[in-house]
């Protein structure tokens, strides 16, 4: 086991991929000389050179599409988009090309691209750098959407994503980069299933990414009140692991979903619906949700904190569904 940060884990995963496969290269804004907006790729330029650690102009649609073309041409690109807000400039390429070319070509072509982007609020970066748009991407057939919420997944999901013949999007919550954990660098993880991060009996707390830590903290505090919380980390936002979700809720008979996206039309709405469709008769209480407030993320800290899911709000939601 090795102790490392989430940021170092992601870098280590990229380094390994670059060493193992000459087709792999990293491309994005300031990934090279600058070392990455969040310092994830720091040092890789010296090790692999400017062809494979490729700085791009500020042209999200252009370089994301170039990544798609390079994938069609036999490469295994990792495209980094600084934040998911900027990825809206790539959305045409992701949706209209990456996600559809296999289908439009009747299965003749596939697009083995990995697109990484930072997501989430909490750093006072205001309303154009702080949103959580992974739920939107999870709407799109033809792509796989990952949200590594642990250091281990940050280290291990990339290899599985690169091995996938179809486009994979990886959302890295900005509040996780400095977190540390002991991990197994050689571990291989799947990119299909959700994972139970804490076993419990009374309520299922279903979450992912940057909210996982909050859910675990809430579960710990609730344990001291005698409420046994199961924490399910979705890990893969598309396709959702329905079996794991329903198995947990069938056991606990109650569910609270924590999603940093906005509540309306959200991933939390999708998870809620699947529980209702597949497990309605097993429920003992209405499903509750903790999401971001329906406001562009504000700059001042007290307002940003109030807009994002918090441990206190999670605890309050759990109490409401267990009737305590």
């Amino acid at each position: 086991m090795t102790e490392m940060t989430y940021r170092d884990a992601m870098r280590s995963a990229m380094r390994e991929a670059l060493q193992r496969d000459p087709r792999v290269f990293l491309m994005g804004e300031d990934v090279g000389r600058y070392g990455g907006c969040y310092a994830v790729s720091k040092g890789l330029l010296d090790e692999f050179g400017p062809e494979r650690i490729r700085d791009t102009p500020l042209s999200e649609g252009g370089f994301t599409g170039a990544g798609i073309g390079a994938a069609l041409g036999g490469m295994r690109p990792i495209v980094e988009v600084m934040t998911c807000n900027f990825s809206l400039l790539s959305l045409d390429q992701i949706m209209n090309n990456a996600a559809t070319i296999r289908h439009m070509s009747g299965g003749q072509f596939n697009v083995p691209i990995v697109i990484r982007m930072a997501t989430g609020g909490g750093r006072q970066l205001a309303a154009q750098h702080s949103h959580s748009l992974e739920g939107w991407y999870a709407h799109i057939p033809g792509i796989r959407v990952l949200a590594p919420g642990t250091v281990q997944d940050a280290r291990s999901m990339l290899a599985s994503a690169l091995a996938d013949p179809d486009p994979v999007l990886i959302f890295e919550n900005v509040m996780l980069y400095n977190g540390t954990a002991d991990i197994d660098e050689a571990a291989v993880v799947d990119i299909d299933s959700a994972a139970i991060r804490r076993e419990g009996q009374d309520v299922s707390l279903i979450t992912y990414g940057g909210s996982l830590r909050k859910a675990l903290d809430a579960a710990e505090r609730l344990a001291s009140e005698g409420i046994s919380v199961e924490v399910l980390d979705l890990r893969v936002l598309r396709p959702l692991d329905d079996d794991a979700i329903l198995a947990s809720v069938t056991k606990t008979r109650r569910a609270v979903i924590v999603d940093e996206g906005w509540r309306s039309g959200s991933l939390s709405a999708e998870v809620t619906t699947r529980i209702v469709e597949g497990g309605f008769w097993n429920l003992d209480a209405p499903i509750a949700r903790v999401c971001s407030a329906e406001v562009p993320i504000p700059y001042p800290k007290h307002l940003e904190d109030a807009a994002l899911p918090s441990v206190d709000r999670v605890i309050a939601a759990v109490r409401s569904v267990v009737g305590k």
Partner: protein, 329 residues
């Protein structure tokens, strides 16, 4: 008809150029007919009038080069070597089509021909072409990628982003602007502050030229020059082909935005009779060649329609196919 060409204009080549243009013309006319019979549905964008562009450019490409085209791509697909029968079956939505019926008129694909669509987002294929060229360059392959788009694409951000990227990274891309003067119904001078499209490419330091897109020999000559330099590792080239579509934008277009007289004036420059008459006067093509082409093409298209008619519908239980790999690593 003058040529600045280093094009080898022997009889066989002249006959082939004419044959390819006639194939496209007749294929498109048949498509229009089949559309009125509701055999072909959806949007249908015909290439009639612009044949010299696809035929001329494609002469410069070899089998390992790549092609990215637009939603007006039947002609490109035909000249690139996708069979008329597979294209027609695709138009019908039959599973024998070149995209298994899933794409239709706007999304023709073929892996063997390295034909990457059939892209119906204006300028949406340009980044893909740049990426294909990047892959070729990174893997040391001396291929070129030909990227076709209309002049309407020059108003899109992806066009400018990609010209910059291709020039910055010196990628082996041949950008081919098919300037037919109208982005759907919007005339060039109503949408561009600078109507000289090839000048935009020059501003990205991409060697750029314009050519009479109604003259197949000029187009071929320019494409050959460009591809030769691209293969030599000299980076991208930009070719603006000035052309005109004789038919409507799509089958739903009443053409309120242009005068009939303008269409008629351009029809006088129709690339097919123009080249045919020139080549016959030059003694390269004979009456019997013209007659033979007519017969061959009629037969090919009749056979393509019969193939499409006889094709089968994909079973409903296959609806969710081609969304992701059936087996992952």
């Amino acid at each position: 008809m003058t040529t600045s060409a280093k094009v080898r204009l022997n009889r066989a080549h002249c006959v082939d150029l004419l044959r390819q243009m006639v194939r496209i013309r007749e294929f498109e006319e048949k498509c229009a007919e089949l559309y009125t019979q509701e055999k072909i549905r959806g949007f249908l964008h015909l290439y009639t009038g612009e044949e010299a562009v696809a035929v001329g450019v494609m002469q410069a490409l070899g089998p390992t080069d790549a092609v990215v085209a637009t939603y007006r791509e039947h002609g490109h697909a035909l000249v690139r070597g996708i069979s008329a029968r597979e294209i027609m079956a695709e138009m019908f939505g039959k599973q024998e089509g070149c995209s298994h019926g899933r794409g239709g008129s706007m999304h023709l694909f073929d892996a063997d021909a390295r034909f990457y669509g059939g892209n119906a987002i204006v300028a949406g294929g340009i980044p893909v072409a740049v990426g294909l060229a990047l892959a070729d360059k990174m893997q040391g392959r001396a291929n070129a990628t030909a990227c076709f788009f209309g002049e309407g694409a020059a108003a899109e951000g992806e066009f400018h982003e990609c010209l910059n990227l291709a020039a910055l990274w010196q990628l082996p891309v041949l950008f081919v602007c098919e300037n037919n003067l109208y982005a759907m119904g919007t005339a060039l001078e109503r949408s561009e502050s600078e109507t000289d499209i090839h000048a935009k490419a020059a501003s990205y330091r991409i060697p750029s030229e314009f050519v009479d897109g109604m003259n197949v020999v000029d187009v071929e000559a320019a494409a050959q020059r460009a591809v030769t330099t691209i293969r030599a590792g000299e980076g991208p080239r930009f070719l603006e082909c000035r052309t005109y579509r004789f038919r409507a934008h799509s089958m739903f277009d009443a053409q309120l935005y242009r005068e009939k007289a303008e269409v008629e004036k351009w029809r006088e420059r129709d690339p097919i009779p123009r080249f045919r008459d020139w080549a016959m006067a030059a003694g390269e093509i004979r009456e019997e060649d013209v007659a033979a082409i007519k017969d061959e093409v009629a037969k090919e298209i009749a056979e393509a329609v019969a193939f499409a008619e006889a094709g089968s519908w994909e079973p409903l239980e296959d609806l969710l196919k081609y969304v992701g790999a059936e087996r992952r690593a």
